[in-house]
Amino acid sequence: MTLRLLRRLYLVGVFLFLLAPVVVAVGTSVNPTRLNLFPPQGVSLRWYRAFLGAENFTHAFVAVSLKLAVIVALLTGLLALPVAYALSRYRFAGRAVLQTMFLSPMMVPQMVVGIALLLFFARHTFADELRIIIGHVLIALPIAVRAITASLEGSDPQLEEAASSLGASPLQAFLRVTAPLIASGLLAAMLFAFTLSFTDVNVALFLTGPRTTTLPVEVFAYLRWESTPVIAAVAAAQVGMILLIALLIQRLAGLETMLKY
């Protein structure tokens, strides 16, 4: 009996610890004063208006982070799908090596990816936006490959063989048989890539330019010197959007498929 109570208490404690910062960050946004207080001292939309009026934050949110995250999601899907398909449907020499290699950016710390790309771009000129896109695709790719592989393994390769024995070309067989089966897994992987790109700081810190400061980098720079509830309003917008995406991923493929080790 006491054991069960202790277990309850422990579970509640851990989840409180994990979720408190997010809840507090969002809750602080309705404060009527300049103080970062939780529970809020009243209810006002003052800091939401401040957020919408702050060109640096709205630009970073919409014109940089949102736009880049959409492009990153599309490119990651485009690159990860063939990799996952090749690795799960064909057996060939060097397959294990390639598998490790495509999952390796998870082993290389994100900061190191950022630094290496900073030095690379100092030598080879790329457009500011493209720099961040490349960095984000690199960190999203391994997770996308893993998630898409998982959904490919859930679809029977014999279905495709049956289609081709009935005269379908490999591409037709893939598009008309396998693609519909893995569509939700692929979409979930792309949505996860979107959130990775939207929330990343460790890579973007080294790659942002004057007009391409992503939202997390903008907020980080602000927080280093001061903090007002305007950050809470920005956080609330971000948390709302990501919560919707997380629910969508949960329905499409199950969120835990994104983080299997």
């Binding site: 710390p109 690379f120 070309s169 927080l223």
Partner: protein, 302 residues
């Protein structure tokens, strides 16, 4: 059946002989080029920069040298930052392991319908991003923060305590941010431990603690190792959490490297420091594997 289908595909003209015989090459070509150009080559470049001298005007000088590495390792100031960072990472990973293990065990064994949602609640903070959660910690730990309000109201303290801008704040923030990375490897390792082994040990007279020490812990060692390695690496390289929760004067390897690469613009030294950090991150990894191997060998002999 399978062979017939494949040989038909192989004879098919069109996409070319290569696509017929080795279709995976066509699929992998573009991603491979992407990797080689944007990850492998930049990493090589980073190493080459780290063994060049620093030239104020052109940043990366023309001379080959190891002075960036020796300068760091010989200077007590930099060594202090390295040791402080490794200590921080050790505290964070040990605490995360202790907090995460029972939760992972519960989630691996429970048949509760709430499990899916508990996993969801573990993953959403991860997806929300570090910056938002770090701001949440500012609100919680500040002078007028939620924790201080609670402590004052409960009469535990008379004056607000200083938590924000101390090492405690950094440790708390890092544990919270990195805990999911500890929990998931543990869950997958614990799911592989057959519950009937625990039952067998208990039948043979082992108490719950002995079952844990002699059955569950050794069998879940792979999860413990990979979770600890991930959390250690991520906390040793953290930039945002120490920079914000530790205050402007806190220096860790992460904040030092960030400053060198983007403010001081001493790229050769910054790259060398990053490689030194990578090397020291490998030390606990090797140590852990050595201990694991010895424990396994000991069990085999015993």
């Amino acid at each position: 059946m399978t062979t017939m289908v494949f040989s038909r595909a192989a004879r098919r003209p069109g996409v070319g002989a290569l696509a017929g015989e080795r279709p995976y090459l066509v699929l992998l070509a573009l991603p491979l080029v992407f990797f080689a150009v944007f990850l492998l080559y930049p990493l090589l470049l980073m190493f080459l920069v780290s063994v060049r001298n620093y030239a104020p005007a052109q940043i990366v000088g023309d001379r080959w040298t190891l002075e960036n590495y020796t300068r760091f390792l010989l200077d007590p100031f930099y060594r202090g930052i390295l040791l402080g960072t490794l200590r921080l990472a050790a505290i964070v990973s040990a605490a995360s392991l202790v907090i995460a293990y029972p939760l992972a065990y519960y989630l691996a064994r429970t048949a509760s319908r709430a499990k899916g949602w508990l996993v969801f609640l573990l993953l959403t903070p991860l997806m929300v991003g570090i910056v938002v959660r770090t701001y949440g910690w500012i609100v919680l730990l500040g002078r007028n923060g939620t924790i201080n309000q609670l402590l004052l109201a409960a009469g535990v303290v008379r004056e607000p305590v200083r938590i924000l801008f101390t090492e405690t704040a950094v440790v708390l923030g890092l544990i919270e941010v990195l805990l999911p990375y500890m929990i998931f490897p543990l869950i997958s390792a614990l799911q592989k431990v057959d519950p009937s082994l625990e039952a067998a040990a208990a039948t043979l007279g082992a108490g719950p603690l002995e079952v844990l020490r002699r059955v569950v812990l050794p069998l879940s060692l792979p999860g413990i190792v990979s979770g600890t390695v991930i959390v250690f690496t991520l906390s040793a390289g953290a930039i945002v959490t120490p920079a914000i929760l530790g205050g402007p004067r806190t220096q860790t390897m992460g904040t030092l490297i960030y400053q060198l690469m983007t403010a001081t613009l001493n790229w050769p030294f910054g790259s060398a420091v990053a490689f030194i950090l990578l090397a020291f991150e490998a030390v606990p990894v090797c140590l852990f594997f050595a201990v694991t191997a010895r424990a396994a060998a000991g069990r085999a002999r015993g």
